[in-house]
Subunit: 491 residues, 2 copies
């Protein structure tokens, strides 16, 4: 029996019929990322049902030198859960592990398997008057394990933080098959450096998250959603500072979009209506949230905030949503930007951040720089100004051929945008991770000290290089060809 | 010239007269921890004036194999900044690096050198209507670098989190003298696992923190401080859940103490007055904070909270501080417990945590277990119930000889308490760190997987074993004598 056949026999014995398949039809849907950018091959799809099964499988892989690509909902943005083309790896799906292990409403904590889907999590805690304060477009497929491994963001980061801030406890299987159990949620624990933190955002390269204990917050009891028209992006930044001072912890969201984005949505969505009658260069969508119905006086706070903002000439016009329905209409405009702009033609999209105080200046300076340098393009920045994170899209010149343009001028534009972000001390991946998509850009632009430490830690915790190889950092050092790990597959 | 003499000559050339001393009188005060529990020796005291100087010194130490003991205010609780007895190490003081590099009040961020003292930090931001939301007893000496390296806690963790939650950016010198620069505060940054998080709480064993960017919060605009008398500790837990539901984010502190502690303070401090006329088994000190003067309706919230708590029979009696002065008197009682109990005789003190929902049960069950097993002792638990963190003190039987008792029965008691904490899934160090004091207890009680990962990361990032050797983890594996690092001093 070949080593591969022996491995598959052992793995099948371990996981059973439901737990391991090599059937091409069953494996194939998981070999391409949901955006269709990356396709790989795999020798099998493993779907263990429990942490001990994951641990045993990882041990088996270590013995046979089989690389492992962990996968949650396969809804990542950077190809981090897609195997390479070699076909030597297995895809390890966590989707079968989808149990809520413990839900303590009083403690506002929930412990669940890595495969629990975000939307299920939302629905599980809602009846108890609680909410899980993180949401994003892929909530119907994104899993807890994937959200942790990519330190996912979303529109509620301003107040509640990204996924890292929601993780109170963690369980993971390490590269040698040992189980790191830190599921107990200790609010204070100073027994050395926090290994939980190391696993969050590590994209499956140093351990496989199998379960987590997550924090919950009270359900929304009161809400005020404001739409403001502004003269320029720097004033939006001033309005953000003003809103933080006036609303304090009640400020849950602060999103901006330029005139171009609003127009695109209105043109693309016949049912959409502009919240304001007047035209403005920039728009801000501001959400205040109260945990205690009425007691927070949100509507007074919102009115006072606007009044002072008018007086300080921060806003040209503004309105407060009169109902939840209207609030949802405001948000539908924000959420409709990506689709509306896709309809306009090819575009390069960049998920970037710079320090919050610098983002307005970055946008004001970089938009014209890009448009000047790449004739006919249109640069659009919109999104989470309150997090110093915008989606920086560059639309192709009219008539540019879709597919072809992205691979030629598009690539040059992305490198230019990433160079600019780096010059501003920012990040080329604010919330989507590195995966395989941005791996080489990270290697090109990151501080060598940063990369060296990433590699040292990776080498220490995955000496065989079997955990999600080729993601985040290359297997071989580009500079001198030194292999990162002995047993790793070369990519 | 001996290697030691050569090293000292080079170091002096590097740091200048002010930056390096071997004068016994100048070095000696920094060789003993402030509680006087540990005393070591050192070949010199280095006080670099800048990050490049720290980096150059660390490189020099690496070349000569000289161990480094980083030190901030020397006010740690676990001997983490005290060198060993060999005299081969240098003490690297960060105290000369005490500049505020950048203060951006609008962004509510401050970047400062590692040697900035906590109280100075408080005083720097106050005039701008801001506060740094972490405080503790040693604020007059504790430095930013030390607070980060030990992930310090305090009485505001319930709402604001420990030091980890305050760190937005970090600069550190690694073992090879390279500078890890992550000072830019990016609210969202998913470029691989977060190395900043790894350095926080690492006690100088994998890098030397030289600067940090910290978050600030609005100054306190409104405040309600409540004192409640309760029948038992489990009811205190119910009151905590109740307060979290009623006050939401306004809940800033929730401290508990038993009748014994209140009595001890009243006996020890003639000026102290009991907040309530009646006697109660337990007391809870609850603080609500508002960021916006008046607008938060704190006094209404406090009254409603108490009314509902009475109705639910959670409290026997309660009062709201009528003034800031009275609020300070309430807090003075809480802060006076340690001193009052020290006056009663020798005691073993334990800084422990268990999951927040379990702490009341832990106290209710463990106090009688300890007292039963160790005849004549009195077990007292008080402190941060809202963080699942109490100071668990065991007072010696009457007449037990101070000094002698701690070394004999006291040690047995501590092991017993740590065993119980471990059985409950808790931590033997909630906020004070491991240092040298709890190193062997950590090795005895921690999950071997946890210890293995700590050692792998330590080995990867400090292969010579020169950074704060003997702290947190032993240089040699107790089980098989495998050296942790080649060049390390054996302890």
């Amino acid at each position: 029996m070949s080593e591969k056949a022996e491995f598959l026999t052992d793995a099948k014995a371990l996981l059973g019929e439901r737990g391991l398949t090599t059937d091409g039809e069953l494996v194939e849907p998981w070999l391409t990322d949901w955006r269709g950018r990356y396709t790989g091959r795999a020798m099998a799809l493993a779907s263990p049902a429990s942490t001990p099964e994951v641990a045993a499988l990882v041990k088996l892989c270590a013995r046979h030198g089989v690389p492992i690509v962990p996968q949650g909902g396969n809804s990542g943005m950077s190809g981090g859960a897609t195997p390479d083309a070699s076909g030597t790896a297995i895809v390890l799906s966590l989707r079968r592990m989808n149990a809520v292990r413990r839900f303590d409403a009083d403690a506002m904590q929930i412990t669940c398997d890595a495969g629990v889907v975000l939307q299920t999590l939302h629905e599980t805690v809602e009846p108890k008057g609680l909410r899980f304060p993180l949401t994003l477009g892929g909530k119907g497929s994104a899993t807890v394990g994937g959200l942790i491994s990519t330190n996912a963001g979303g529109t509620q980061v301003l107040r509640h933080g990204a996924m890292r801030a929601q993780v109170l406890g963690l369980e993971a299987v390490m590269a040698d098959g040992s189980v790191f159990d830190s599921l107990k949620a200790l609010k204070k624990d100073n027994r050395g450096f926090d290994l939980k933190q190391l696993l969050i955002g590590s994209e499956g390269t140093i351990g496989i998250v199998t379960a987590a204990t997550l924090r919950l917050v009270p359900a929304i009891a009161d809400r005020a959603v404001l739409w403001c028209g502004l003269g320029d992006i720097r004033t939006a930044r001033k309005l953000l500072v003003h809103a933080q001072r006036e609303a304090g912890d009640a400020l849950e969201g602060f999103e901006v979009m330029p005139r171009h984005s609003l127009r695109a949505v209105l043109a693309h969505e016949p049912s959409a209506r502009s919240p304001l009658q007047s035209e403005h260069e920039w728009h801000a969508l501001v959400e205040l949230i109260g945990d205690r119905s009425g007691a927070d006086g949100l509507s007074d706070t919102a009115s006072a905030l606007l009044e002072a903002a008018f007086a300080a000439e921060l806003i040209e016009d503004a309105t407060i949503a009169a109902s939840d329905t209207q609030a949802e209409q405001f948000w539908a405009i924000r959420d409709g930007i990506s689709a509306a702009e896709r309809a306009l033609g090819p575009a390069m999209q960049h998920d970037i951040s710079v320090p919050v105080p610098d983002m307005a200046d970055f946008v004001a300076e970089t938009v014209p720089r890009v448009e000047e340098r790449f004739t006919g393009t249109k640069a659009i920045a919109f999104g989470h100004l309150g997090d110093g994170n915008v989606h920086f899209h560059v639309l192709a010149p009219e008539g540019a051929p879709r597919g072809e343009w992205e691979e030629s001028e598009g690539k040059t534009i992305s490198a230019f945008v990433h160079d600019e972000v780096t010059r501003w001390g920012g990040s080329i991946s604010a919330e989507h991770g590195i995966g395989q998509m941005k791996r080489d850009e990270l290697a090109r632009l990151a501080d060598p000290v940063h990369i060296a430490i990433l590699r040292q830690v990776k080498q220490a915790l995955d000496p065989q290089g079997l955990l999600n190889p080729g993601k985040l950092i290359a297997q071989h050092d580009a500079s001198d060809g030194t292999p990162l790990a002995q047993g790793a597959t070369t990519l």
